[in-house]
Each structure stands twice: as C-alpha cells, then as structure tokens.
C-alpha cells in the first residue's frame, strides 16, 4: 500500500509539473478522439436520424446492423483498418498506417455505429411524438431530419458523450493501427498499457488519473446541461 501511495504521489507531481511528454500524449489523445467523434457525428447523426424518422425498405436490417456494430470489439476494428491501410491493402497508397490519421479512422469506425444506433432510438421516440403534427404542417424530409435532430439536441449530447467515452478509453484499435510510436502515435491508453508493462508506473498512473478526471468532468458537464434542459422541458 505504501508503494501505491508513493506512485500516486509521483503521478500527481508529474501532472502538476506539466511534464511535456505527458502533455503531448494527452494532446494527441484528445485530437484523435475528438476528430473521430466529430466524424462519427457527421456520419452517425444523419444516418441515425434517417433510420429513426423514415420507413423504407430494408430499414429493419439497417437498424439491426447498426445495433450489432455498436458492440464491435476494438481489436477487430483495429485489425480490419490495419488490413485496409497496410501497404498491400486497398487503401495502402494513402500511407496512413502508423499515423494519427489511421487512429482517427479506426476510432471513427468504432464510434459511428454507436452514435448512429443511439441517435436512431432517440429520434424514433421523438418522431413518434411529432409525426402527426409534422404531417399536418406538411414538413418535408430534410426539414424533418433537421428539426428532429435539433429538438433531440440534449438527448443527443449524451449519445455523443457515449461515443467519446468509448473512443477515449479504447486501446485495442489504436495500438494496432498506430503502433504506439513515441512522439508520433502514443495516446493515453496505449501509453498506460506500455508503461505499466515496463514498470514505469508513475507515468501510467498519471495518465490514468487524467483519463478518469476527463471522464468525470465531461459527464458532469453533460449532466448539468441536461438538468437545465429538463427544467425547460427541452429534454
């Protein structure tokens, strides 16, 4: 137990000193994950909204597929993206393997189904409430999607947060396609995995603390936002 307290002390000191390596790793983590979540939103929000607001042939299959893809194991995603981006793969010419871009691609593949599937559920519920009013007013398809996404904005914040949580904590996919190269593709999770196995516990724990604090802060912020939305009956 003494050992743990000592390591924790060193870890906190590392955080407070603003260690440049630590800052670099945290920065890359956020850049990769926020980019992936942004791309996941661009793809997943409209996809989920369309699946939630319209009836079309094959819709049931799309919904089942989206739900199934939510549970994709990160290592499998990593492997598939690796195969696509490797020199002999279909996207090999892009030369993205072992770059942050590859990590963004992998995490985008991971979070898009999560965002799409959860958005579909949220939008479908809301559309159930709005459908007749929209039909009465004669709301067109594009307007319908936009209005539903906007009116579901506070619920969708939680959806985006779920995507962020999944991506930022994920290690399997980014380690395969990023390679955990020092100063290039090292992010918080891959560093924790590596440094722990090397016995460099204070850096690992420092990153663990940051990861935890990040998760808590983002969750608290979204909860507070939602609470104010509920008071205004906007959620």
């Amino acid at each position: 137990m003494d050992g743990f307290a000592e390591v924790l002390g060193q870890a906190l000191a590392l955080i407070l000193s603003g260690d440049p390596d630590l800052v670099e790793i945290i920065g890359l983590s956020l850049r990769v994950t926020l980019s992936a979540v942004a791309l996941g939103c661009v793809l997943g929000l409209p996809l989920g909204a369309v699946a939630g607001a319209f009836r079309f042939p094959g819709r049931a299959a799309v919904v089942v597929l989206m739900n199934a893809l939510m549970g994709l194991p990160p290592v499998v995603v990593g492997l598939l993206v690796y195969l696509s981006l490797s020199a002999s793969g279909p996207l090999g010419v892009l030369g993205l393997l072992y770059t942050p871009a590859a990590m963004i691609v992998a995490q985008t593949v991971l979070v898009t189904p999560i965002i799409a599937a959860l958005t579909r559920q949220v939008v479908e519920d809301l559309h159930g409430e709005y459908a007749e009013q929209f039909a009465s007013l004669g709301v067109g398809p594009a307007h319908r999607v936009a209005a539903l996404l906007w009116d579901a904005r506070y619920s969708l914040l939680t959806v985006v947060l779920a995507g962020f949580g999944r991506a930022v904590a994920e290690v399997g996919a980014v380690i395969i396609v990023g390679g955990n190269i020092n100063h290039v593709t090292r992010v918080m999770t891959t560093t924790i995995a590596l440094e722990t196995s090397k016995g460099n516990l204070e850096l690992a724990l420092a990153l663990g603390v940051v990861l935890l604090a990040l998760a808590l802060t983002v969750n608290a912020a979204v909860m507070a936002l939602r609470a104010s939305a509920v008071r205004a009956a906007y959620a």
């Binding site: 009465s136 007013l137 307007h143 009116d151 205004a232 009956a233």
Partner: protein, 262 residues
C-alpha cells in the same frame, strides 16, 4: 412551397349565401367514408360536410369516431373506402396546406413559444423576412406575447392549447379543425379559446370543432354533426339538431340519457 393565400382574398363567405337562402358551399366533404381496422368498422359510411364560412361542431360519445373523422378530413389517414373532397375535388397535399388541425393534446416543439410559431411558418413556406412579424401578430392575437420566449412545453395546458391555435391560424388556413380544444381546461381558458375560435370565424375561417360539451355546442355551432358508433346519426343546422333532433342518439343525449364524456 407557395405561401398559403390569405383567407381575406377569398371571394365568398358561407353565411351571407345562407341568409339569401342558398345551399352553403361545402368546403370539405366526406363521402361515404368507411374506416376499418382489424376487421372492425371504426367509421361506417360517414357522409357530412363542413360548409364554407360556417362553424360545424362534431359531437358524439367517446369512441364514436370524432377524432378519426377529423384526421380523415385532414388527410392524415386514408379511408378504407369513400372519398374526402376539398372544394369538390379529391383532397391532396395542397388542399391539406389550406387546412390546419389542432390536436386534442397539443404537440409543442422543444423550443420557445415564438420558435414554435416560426417553425410552422417556415414549413408552410412563409418567407423568412415575414415570419417574425406574422408570428408576433399571432402571439398578440392569442394574448401570449408575454410568454414569447418561454419554452413552449412549460406552458399550462390552456396556454399550450392557445398557442396551438395561434400556430394553426398563423398559417392562415381556410379550414381550422379543432379536436376537443377545451377538454380538461378550466372555464377561463375555455372562454379564451372560444374567443379565438370566434375571432377566426369572424375573419372568414371555416371551423370544424369536436366537443362533447353541450354548452360549447350551443355557443359555437352553426351546424352539428352527431356521430354515434361510427355513423352519422344527425347532421344539420345547430338550431334544428338542438331543438328538434331526428335521431334517437341525439334525442337521448339532449334528454340526458346518453352521456358523451369525458
């Protein structure tokens, strides 16, 4: 989408024609509507009409098909057989844009009162520059100006219903359909809503209103359609239906033997 033409431009109004002893022009007409679900006839051979410029009150017990009739007239659901006519032609999308339906439970977007109005105007193709003024005029009319920036869904039931009516009227419909707009409201809210309906009617809007409140029917109805078990039991001028009902159902109701609800 084209802007809905102002009802003030309309060349005629039903009431003056009637005074001259002519048949009122049916703005909307149900011809032999039947609606079946699971082998059961919810509406069975319903024929009735909403005469231009008049207020038609649709009455009947719970489950007699009043809401379904309004939805059919508005084109939200299709009849199993029969037709809905708008100015003598089959109802289509453009005709529906000439109507506005106020649902029994108002559906409010998760936005401010003003934003709810502006949304409806945007959907109905009112140019952006005209929306604000028209929305504000509608709020003024509904006496909701003070609540313009409030989230619509925190308004009281009566205020939401008035907003729903204001939203419907802001679209300048020729036919305003209202499904039990005052059910479960207090007398003060009811009075405000009846005033709004009256004002719309005075502006030339044709009104079709569902109620099972006898007092409201007496106050508002020019014509009455009385539904019983999915059929039209009686359809005629209010004065006649309320004083000399021909159908057993309407008689039973007037004599207090048939309770309409809620």
């Amino acid at each position: 989408m084209r802007e809905v033409r102002m009802h003030a431009d309309e060349p005629f109004c039903g009431a003056p024609l009637l005074r001259r002893g002519l048949t009122p022009v049916p703005l909307a007409e149900a011809r032999d509507l039947t609606l079946r679900a699971d082998g059961q006839a919810l509406l069975d051979g319903v024929s009735c009409s909403f005469a231009a410029g008049r207020r038609t009150v649709v009455m009947g017990a719970n489950g007699s098909g009043k809401s379904l009739l309004l939805r059919l007239m508005h084109g939200l659901i299709r009849p199993t057989s029969g037709t809905v006519l708008w100015r003598g032609a089959p109802l289509d999308r453009r005709a529906r844009a000439r109507q506005a339906l106020v649902f029994q439970t108002p559906v409010m977007l998760r936005r401010s009162v003003l934003a709810n109005l502006r949304f409806a105007l945007a959907v109905r193709g009112v140019p952006r520059c005209a929306r604000r003024a028209r929305a504000e005029a509608a709020l003024e009319q509904a006496r909701l100006t003070a609540l313009a920036h409030r989230p619509a869904r925190v308004l009281s039931g009566g205020e939401q219903q008035r907003l729903a009516i204001a939203r419907a009227l802001a679209c300048r419909p020729e036919l305003l359909l209202l499904d039990e707009p005052t059910a479960s409201l207090d007398p003060a809210s009811t009075a405000l809503i009846e005033q709004a309906v009256d004002a719309a009617h005075a502006d030339g809007v044709t009104v079709a209103l569902v109620t099972h409140d006898a007092g409201q029917a007496r106050r508002l109805a020019d014509d009455i359609v009385f539904l019983h078990a999915g059929r039209v039991a009686e359809h005629g001028p209010a004065a006649q239906v309320l004083s000399r009902p021909r159908s057993e159902a309407a008689r039973a109701w007037l004599e207090g033997r048939l309770h309409l609800g809620p």
